[in-house]
């Protein structure tokens, strides 16, 4: 076995884009010749190596060739040139539907789809209950799938694909259709696959998912790979580029329309702006802003990310019930008070944003503006990034407590 689950070497895929297409013999005879077409390069000389056992993401704008590349890897499309080697059993979840037959029931489709994905009847029999359980559509399993909602479709399709127990799973955008509960199930399943040493290749526009989930990503633009490597850096770079974000001298990056913006962010403990603090400290986040215009009912938001990229916490003034009637042109500040910092020792980045009353327009989003180190304080708990102030008690049957 090689170290790579998938190796893509100089793959190019072009499509024929017809001008005024008419797929009939009649018109071909009348026009006495083939339809006019142009070659459109959807994937342009792409080379990638996807190591075994990692979660690999494909990033890029609409039409950048992500789905086309996945389909080439899944052998649904044949590249014009180049070579793709896939080492292991592969299953793909591409777009909605996964090729169900609308008139057959869910049950029949599971068997059919399983067979198409390469499972034997015995294997499907064995996994059938697990599949139905995972999909959560057991109530509808004996109904034709044409009566399913699009979410149910995806759930069932995904359930079958995952139970193929592929060494390599390709997933294109499907998660967007499922509800929260299902998305969680899926990410859980991804972790499980990852822990088993299987390889997952995902395409998603959900940056949070990509950042926390992928180990490596490739950034595609107009069919070419412009960057590959460590997920966090590239996803951030991509997200920032997408938002036309600018680097800020004092740290972090910002995007937004800029009529009103954060000039300075402070992390205040005991009245001092600091970059180190302790678990359990009372902390005030103070944002200084400058506004060129008057903004009615602005929404101030702040969030913490761990250095590893986990979105730890976020809060905004509307949810807090703190609605300011308006801010006037000029400068000012606002505080967010944290009575007792429930973070275990670690390094965290603070972000702050100013949005309009609906939360749809961003005046300024200053991301990862300051980095703070949390040191050991009280309470001391054993692991993770959070402290709950929890305690152990109530041993049954009662025993004397030797130390506590």
């Amino acid at each position: 076995m090689s170290d790579f689950a998938v190796r893509v070497e100089n793959v190019t895929k072009t499509f024929r884009v017809y001008t005024d297409r008419n797929q009939s013999l009649k018109s071909a005879i009348i026009a006495r010749g083939r339809n006019k077409f142009e070659e459109f390069v959807a994937v342009d000389d792409v080379s990638l190596e996807i190591p075994r056992g990692i979660t690999f993401g494909l990033l890029g704008h609409n039409g950048s060739g992500k789905s086309t590349l996945l389909k080439c890897i899944a052998r649904i499309l044949t590249p014009n040139s180049g070579k793709i080697t896939v080492d292991g059993r592969l299953a793909a979840m591409l777009e909605v539907g996964s090729g169900f037959h609308p008139n057959l029931t869910g049950r029949e489709n599971v068997y059919l789809n399983g067979a198409i994905l390469g499972m034997s009847k015995k294997e499907i029999d064995r996994k059938f209950d697990a599949i139905i359980d995972f999909s959560g559509v057991e109530r509808f399993i004996d109904q034709p799938v044409k009566n399913y909602s699009s979410g149910m479709y995806v759930r069932l399709g995904f359930a079958v694909a995952i139970h193929v127990e592929p060494d390599i799973l390709l997933v294109d955008e499907v998660l967007a259709v499922g509800d929260m509960q299902f998305q969680e199930k899926c990410t859980e399943k991804f972790s499980e696959l990852k822990a088993d040493g299987r390889t997952v290749v995902v395409v998603s526009h959900a940056h949070d998912l990509m950042r926390t989930f992928c180990d490596e990503v490739a950034w595609l633009q107009n069919g070419r790979v412009i960057e590959t490597g460590d997920a966090m850096g590239i996803v951030d770079a991509y997200a920032n580029k997408e938002h036309r974000a600018r680097k800020v001298e004092s740290g972090g990056v910002r995007f937004g329309s800029g009529e009103s913006y954060v000039t300075k962010l402070e992390w205040i403990v005991d009245g001092v702006d600091t970059r180190t603090c302790h678990t359990g400290d009372e902390v005030t986040i103070r944002a200084h802003y400058q506004s060129e215009i008057e903004i009615e009912r602005p929404i101030f938001g702040t969030s913490l990310d761990s250095r590893e990229g986990v979105f730890v916490w976020g809060h905004h003034s509307r949810d807090a019930g703190y609605v300011v009637s308006s801010i006037k042109p000029g400068t000012g500040s606002i505080d967010v008070r944290i009575p007792s910092l429930p973070l275990r020792p670690g390094t965290f980045d603070v972000s702050f944003s100013i949005q309009d009353r609906t939360g749809t327009h961003v005046y300024d989003a200053l991301q990862r503006a300051i980095r703070i180190d949390v040191l050991t304080g009280t309470p001391i708990e054993s692991g993770g990034i959070m402290t709950f102030g929890s305690s152990f008690e109530n041993i049954q049957p009662p025993r004397p407590i030797a130390a506590g």
């Binding site: 076995m1 080492d87 793909a92 996964s98 090729g99």
Partner: protein, 286 residues
């Protein structure tokens, strides 16, 4: 790359072909409560109509069965009709198998040829059912001698299925680029049916040819070779073979053996070549 053993891939393709064919068959039979019985009603009605129109009203005659001494126009029609129906319906089903399964093709990888082959196999299942019914009826009238023909019958069923698969493979590709072929095929197959002697015997063609010659219509002083043209038709050859076996209890002539084998091999060769050449681009053109 650790290539999965070749045979495993082929085995997978065969399993899949069967699964898909079974699905087709089930879908056909499960639609109604009476299921399988209903599927026989359609051919029965057609046979009855043709017997009535061509046998009774137009006073069509079939030559008596050579060894069987059968003289039963409806049975003669029945053998021709079910053979023809298998030929035309399996080609029609096979040719639209790719277009009709676009949803599958664009989402999963599997050998594309499986779709066409399984469509033909599903139609073959119907054909086998109908043939069995006819043979049981013949056996009831003439006796069980007919079952001796089964081994040869199997050979011809395979030859016919191979022929149909080849044509279907070619057309399934052509239809992706020229969608109206499907419609034209419907028209063509109507003409083809009458050109294949499903409802009248070959002797009629011979006499028509002579009649035309007597009326002074000829090519270079020779009779128009109607009969030769008629007999060059693969469908006619296959129907003759099945009639020989089931209606006459006789082995088909050597020239029929030869021609049907050639047609089957030729059709499959062309079909395979066309399919191979174009299958990489099926998905993006759907």
């Amino acid at each position: 790359m650790v290539n999965p053993p070749f045979s495993a891939e082929v085995r997978g393709a065969i399993t899949l072909t069967w699964t898909l064919a079974l699905r087709e068959v089930r879908a056909q039979y499960n639609r109604t409560a009476l299921g399988r019985l209903w599927s026989l009603v359609n051919p029965l009605v057609t046979i009855a109509t043709y017997s009535l129109v061509f046998g009774l009203i137009l006073a069509g005659q079939a030559p008596p069965g050579i060894n069987s001494k059968l003289h039963f126009f409806s049975l003669w029609i029945a053998v021709g009709l079910v053979t023809w129906t298998f030929l035309s319906s399996s080609i029609a089903a096979g040719m639209s198998a790719l277009l009709g399964n676009a949803g599958l093709l664009t989402k999963v990888h599997f050998p594309r040829v499986v779709l066409v082959v399984s469509a033909v196999i599903a139609k073959a299942a119907t054909f086998l059912t109908e043939l069995s019914v006819i043979m049981v009826i013949v056996a009831a009238i003439v006796g069980p001698k007919i079952f001796l023909m089964i081994p040869v019958l199997v050979v011809f069923i395979i030859l016919l299925a191979v022929f149909c698969t080849g044509v279907a493979l070619t057309l399934s590709i052509v239809v992706i680029w020229f969608r109206d072929i499907e419609h034209l095929w419907g028209l063509f197959s109507q003409v083809w049916m009458y050109a294949s002697g499903v409802v009248f015997p070959v002797t009629l063609v011979a006499s028509a040819s002579t009649r035309l010659f007597q009326d002074g219509i000829s090519i270079n002083g020779q009779p128009i070779p109607l009969l030769a043209v008629f007999r060059a038709n693969p469908a006619e050859q296959f129907i003759e073979a099945f009639r020989a076996l089931i209606y006459d209890f006789a082995l088909p002539n050597w020239d029929i053996w030869l021609m049907t084998t050639l047609w089957a091999c030729g059709s499959l060769t062309i079909g395979t070549l066309v399919f191979r050449a174009k299958q990489a681009r099926i998905v993006e053109e759907l």
